[in-house]
């Protein structure tokens, strides 16, 4: 049974990252870090009961969305989904991420929830997780021994488990800088609008005319963690992208995914549409190389 009443906890409100890390070294195993709280507080009504909540609310300067052409995109731990949706640079250059934030939850949860929180939540259905994995990048963690970066490819270990150590705070998400011929796309299937994904997919391509030079393909809700679909990527890499090739890729996708049945959908359905969704996000990504964000029609919606 759930509860309207939150369990008892001590609220820790550090005013800088060093203090935060210090508190985590003390209480790490029993503490939960809170950014927007849209996931954490829901969890605490259905059984999660951390003795300490370490809120990042009082730490100044973590709510940035910053870009430079050399290093790429940096999203601070307290930058909300709404901030990312409102960011012109994300809309221009990181279409998949933009769209994954735009379709994420409701206006209320986007105003509170963060992109980094989405990544740290490590849900296999996480929309930003899927887009970020396609873009490629890393999570910057800060612990007692200082900072370290973990590649997104190695960040999620298992269902809702990350490489973050209990005494570390995630400081930012970094996404690689776009190269020439860069495009990306994201799609999710949901039961209704504003629902968690039954399945989601994202692609980032680097095109040379019609030839796909590089591709990263990510898919969510088809395994305990968001998956990189490396076999499917191999089908596309170095090839001219044709309908036939996309079909081959879709077939590879269906082999690579390991979906299950749950209340949102069935394994059979997920496997079937995995190929369709992969094709669509690759097509969107290719389309966006030349043109504007394929989802810009939603801007201001």
């Amino acid at each position: 049974m759930s509860s309207r009443v939150l369990p008892v906890f001590d609220l820790l409100l550090p005013s800088n990252l060093e203090e935060a890390v210090g508190l985590l070294s003390q209480h790490g195993d029993q503490a939960a870090v809170m950014a927007g709280g849209t996931d954490l507080l829901v969890g605490m009504k259905v059984g999660m009961s951390p003795a300490f909540i370490l809120s990042l609310a009082d730490i100044q300067g973590l709510d940035y969305v910053a870009f430079d052409a050399k290093h790429g995109l940096r999203i601070g731990a307290m930058a909300t989904l709404s901030q990312v949706v409102d960011s012109k640079v994300v809309n221009d250059k990181y279409h998949a991420l933009w769209y994954s934030a735009f379709t994420n939850g409701t206006p209320q949860t986007r105003n509170a929830g963060t992109v980094v929180g989405n990544i740290l939540r490590a849900s296999p259905a996480g929309d930003c997780c899927c887009a970020a994995l396609a873009h490629g990048g890393s999570v910057l963690l800060q612990g007692p021994a200082g900072k370290r970066e973990v590649d997104l490819d190695e960040f999620w270990l298992d269902y809702r488990k990350t490489a973050r150590k209990p005494d570390e705070v995630a400081v930012e998400l970094k996404l690689k800088a776009p190269e020439h011929g860069y495009g990306s796309g994201f799609a999710a299937l949901t039961r209704s609008y504003q629902d968690l994904a039954k399945i989601n997919a994202a692609a980032r391509v680097i095109m040379d005319g019609k030839v796909c030079r590089k591709v990263r393909l990510a898919m969510g809700a088809v395994a305990p963690i968001t998956l990189r679909l490396k076999e499917a990527e191999k089908v596309l890499t170095g090839q001219e992208v044709t309908d036939q090739l996309l079909e081959q890729m879709a077939a590879a996708v269906r082999k690579e995914v390991k979906p299950i049945d749950d209340v949102r959908s069935t394994a059979e359905y997920r496997r079937e549409v995995a190929g369709v969704l992969a094709k669509r996000v690759v097509q969107d990504a290719i389309k966006s190389v030349a043109g504007p964000c394929p989802y810009s029609c939603f801007m201001g919606a």
């Binding site: 049974m1 759930s2 509860s3 309207r4 009443v5 299937l189 039961r191 209704s192 609008y193 504003q194 629902d195 968690l196 209340v263 949102r264 959908s265 069935t266 059979e268 359905y269 079937e272 549409v273 369709v276 969704l277």
Partner: protein
């Protein structure tokens, strides 16, 4: 009839301002001195089990706990959360086999969420913490989720009163023709048919999803009075039922209806009133609040009836529906509740819609280990619509007959038997609904255009029609009282027990009152919601409030108006028949200067003295009050046609609703925005039932989706643009020609969207909801027509 002054006006709803500004108080907003908090302890781990040990001692010692209650600490009387027994004569209730098989707290758990104990504490938190300390041991029993399982000879019996776990079947005493609602000879009809279509449909178990979770406060005190604050749809039935359950005279039970945060049938009858009142009786003098969590609300309050619906229809080549044979078998959940009601009406809607030459319907309901089923908007009609309208379309495709034309030709109409044989339709605007709706959606063009399609996106259009009811006369009691009290300044209070579930009922009733009295709307005020103050009303169900309540308001206001005119006639020394009342003045026809203010009459009725100078009484003494105890004379069914256009993505099975046209004959639309709101909300729930919603149980009978995160409904962004056409076919029995609008809106959309998908893909879906998963699977198995 266009000379109405108040009726038909788009005035703001009476509750709109308070609701949108957040000032409206709901039960959960109630705070009282010394208030305690109750927690109903529910069995969450089993759907069917015996409680073998219940040790409350640790919980009783927990901090803040005032009292713990087990099954033996409360009344041992049984009850039925439904209240149908109050609505039919006792012999009929006995014939139907209605029983009271629920207990306040049980030791035989019949579904996940069944109540086994209660805790009363000084805070909700303390009560919850104490609940964790209760030690319970269960003996698990076999779980029956389907009728097939429940009826097996060796199945555990839910109650000795219902052998074979058959809660209800149409009784042979009432339906001598083989215990079926029938006319003609359906077998002979099939022998004559040129085409027979036959199918078994599966209907999902769906929830009302009202916004406000069930919440109550009860206090036993005040010289032995039991007070209960509840957002029930039926305050007067609760009044009676609580008195019986706790063996108190009705004068010692006081029911205060709090703002109803959405009903849709889920507050029809008692939900947790028995538990909260039992708690209040255990801590005399202290108010106890019980506020259900969403998941408790989900499991512990009733759902729509799911089931299997076998249907066989015979047609002549020209489309004549020569025979209908249908058998509904419902999986009704752990208690009896509405077993007799829904199983009968489901067939009644089938009987009432089309001119079946021969007809036969059977309706059964089995006990299962799931949340008990009860009332949900439409009361059987949406389930019927999903099956009936789809199967008809299957036949029409084979016969090559247009679906709109066939419906126009074969729907029942004025003079035909309604859903209850012997009560004939008095008005019917369905032809106009079909014509206007077909035009608005572009039916003819789209049917042609979508006949041949290629590619991965397929479009389709579908139509369905429905008829419902306005009140349940003659099947159920249809009684509402209204008092109209005229104040000394010629303003009025309408006093009644009619509920407003957010539907706009009080606004419409206020408009009817103002229209009848000839008063401006702002001079009429509605006072409801307190059993001490207002008289009887059976409650908000069967789409009856405006229809029956409206007629009671008219009668009461006419009574008051007659008294005003009588006094005016005396004052003006005129014949009453020669008087006209307008703008709060009464004058003699033809001589407008011979007049008296209504305010003067009302004032003098209250402030009535002997004048010292003349020694005469002024005016006529006595405060004017009108009264009506109204029994409905008919059930004036409303009609509607719904048209839906969809696009199906054949690669993902996703359905996008592109357009929806609802054309509704509600008679006179007293408050058009409320009618439109009802229609739109109905469409949303109808689409949900057909395409998205279902309670999912695992094999142990545990519900897997008891929150809004796990159970999804159509939200605002999933809805298409809706064209809302009101066809106001005057009804001779309805108040100012009005028929009902409360439930009907949900019915036809269920069939129409299913038919649109059928039209798009050429594949018919017999199992609801028609999810992308089912669509994709069917496309894979059956293929698509090019």
């Amino acid at each position: 009839m266009s000379d109405f002054k108040v009726i038909g006006q788009r005035v703001p709803k009476v509750d709109a301002r308070r609701k949108v500004t957040g000032h409206q108080e709901y039960a959960d907003d109630l705070r009282m001195p010394g208030m305690l908090y109750g927690k109903i302890v529910r069995c969450m781990e089993y759907a069917h089990a015996k409680v073998t040990k219940l040790d409350l001692s640790q919980a009783a010692k927990a901090p803040g706990v005032v009292k713990v209650l087990g099954p033996k600490d409360v009344t041992q009387k049984g009850y039925n959360s439904g209240v149908l027994d109050l609505m039919v004569p006792e012999p009929v209730g006995q014939m139907l086999g209605d029983i009271e098989d629920q207990l306040v707290f049980t030791d035989h758990v019949k579904f996940q969420g069944d109540a086994i104990a209660g805790i009363i504490a000084t805070s909700e938190e303390a009560a919850e913490r104490a609940a964790e300390l209760i030690q319970v041991e269960y003996e698990p029993l076999p779980v029956y989720l389907t009728a097939e399982e429940a009826k097996k000879p060796d199945a555990v019996q839910f109650t000795p009163l219902k052998p074979g776990n058959l809660a209800f079947a149409l009784p042979i005493q009432m339906f001598p023709d083989g215990a079926a609602y029938a006319w003609g000879d359906s077998e002979a009809g099939f022998a004559e048919a040129d085409l027979i279509v036959e199918e078994t449909f599966t209907l999902p178990k769906v929830k009302q999803c009202q916004m406000e979770p069930h919440t109550y406060v009860a206090r036993y005190g005040d010289g032995g009075r039991l007070n209960c604050w509840t957002s029930t749809q039926m305050p007067k039935c609760i009044h009676n039922k609580l008195a019986r359950l706790f063996e108190l005279p009705m004068s010692r039970v006081h029911v205060i209806q709090t703002t109803v945060g959405g009903g849709f049938g889920c507050r029809l009858g008692m939900i947790a009133e028995p538990q909260v009142c039992a708690m209040a009786m255990a801590v005399q003098g202290k108010p106890v609040k019980v506020s259900l969590l969403r998941e408790e609300d989900w499991l512990g309050s009733e759902s729509r009836h799911p089931g299997k619906y076998k249907m066989k229809i015979g047609f002549k080549k020209d489309g004549t529906p020569i025979s209908m044979d249908a058998h509904w078998i419902s999986e009704g959940g752990g208690y009896y509740t509405h077993a007799s009601g829904v199983q009968f009406t489901l067939g009644a809607w089938l009987a009432g819609t089309y001119k079946w030459t021969n007809f036969r319907f059977k309706g059964d309901r089995y006990y299962t280990n799931t949340t008990p089923c009860g009332a949900y908007r439409g009361y059987g009609n949406p389930q019927n619509n999903f099956a009936m309208e789809q199967l008809i379309d299957r036949a029409l495709n084979q016969l090559g007959i247009d679906k709109v034309e066939w419906r126009k030709k074969w729907h029942k109409t004025v003079g035909d038997d309604g859903w209850c044989m012997g009560v004939t339709y008095a008005s019917c605007g369905l032809d106009e609904c079909l014509d206007k709706g077909a035009k608005a959606i572009g039916w003819e063009d789209k049917i042609k255009k979508y006949a041949k399609q290629t590619g991965s996106k397929r479009r389709g259009v579908g139509v369905a029609v429905m008829t419902h009811t306005s009140g349940a006369m003659p099947m159920l009691l249809e009684h509402t009282t209204c008092t109209v009290k005229i104040n000394e300044d010629a303003t009025a209070e309408l006093i009644f027990s009619c509920s407003d579930l957010g539907t706009g009922a009080h606004t419409s009733l206020q408009q009817i009152g103002a229209e009848t009295l000839g008063f401006p709307l702002e001079d009429v005020h509605v006072r409801a919601q307190d059993s001490d103050i207002s008289g009887f009303d059976i409650g908000a169900h069967a789409s009856r409030t405006l229809y029956v309540g409206g007629s009671a308001v008219i009668e009461a206001c006419e009574d008051a108006k007659r008294q005003i005119l009588e006094r005016a006639a005396t004052a003006l020394e005129a014949n009453q028949d020669d008087l006209v009342m307008e703008n709060k003045k009464v004058f003699v026809k033809g001589s407008p200067d011979k007049s008296i203010d209504v305010a003067t009459i009302c004032y003098q009725g209250v402030y009535n003295w002997v004048m010292p100078d003349t020694g005469n009484w002024i005016g006529i003494p006595g405060q004017i009050q009108g009264y009506s105890s109204y029994f409905a004379k008919h059930n004036s069914p409303p009609w509607s046609a719904c048209f839906v256009e969809v696009e199906v993505d054949t690669e993902t099975g996703q359905v996008k609703v592109l357009d929806c046209v609802a054309a509704s004959d509600v008679g006179k639309a007293i408050h058009p925005p409320s009618v439109e709101g009802q229609v739109e909300g109905g469409i949303q729930q109808g689409f949900g039932q057909s395409c998205m919603e279902a309670m999912i149980y695992d094999e142990k009978g545990l519900c897997l989706n008891n929150t809004f995160a796990d159970y999804r409904m159509f939200g605002p962004s999933d809805m298409p643009k809706i064209t809302n056409i009101l066809v106001e076919e005057h009804d001779p029995f309805g108040p100012y020609g009005a028929k009902s609008a409360g439930e009907g809106g949900q019915v036809a959309p269920t069939g129409a969207i299913a038919n649109a998908i059928y039209n798009a893909l050429g594949i018919q879906f017999t199992e609801g909801p028609i999810t992308p998963e089912r669509i994709l699977k069917a496309i894979k198995e059956k293929g698509l027509q090019a």
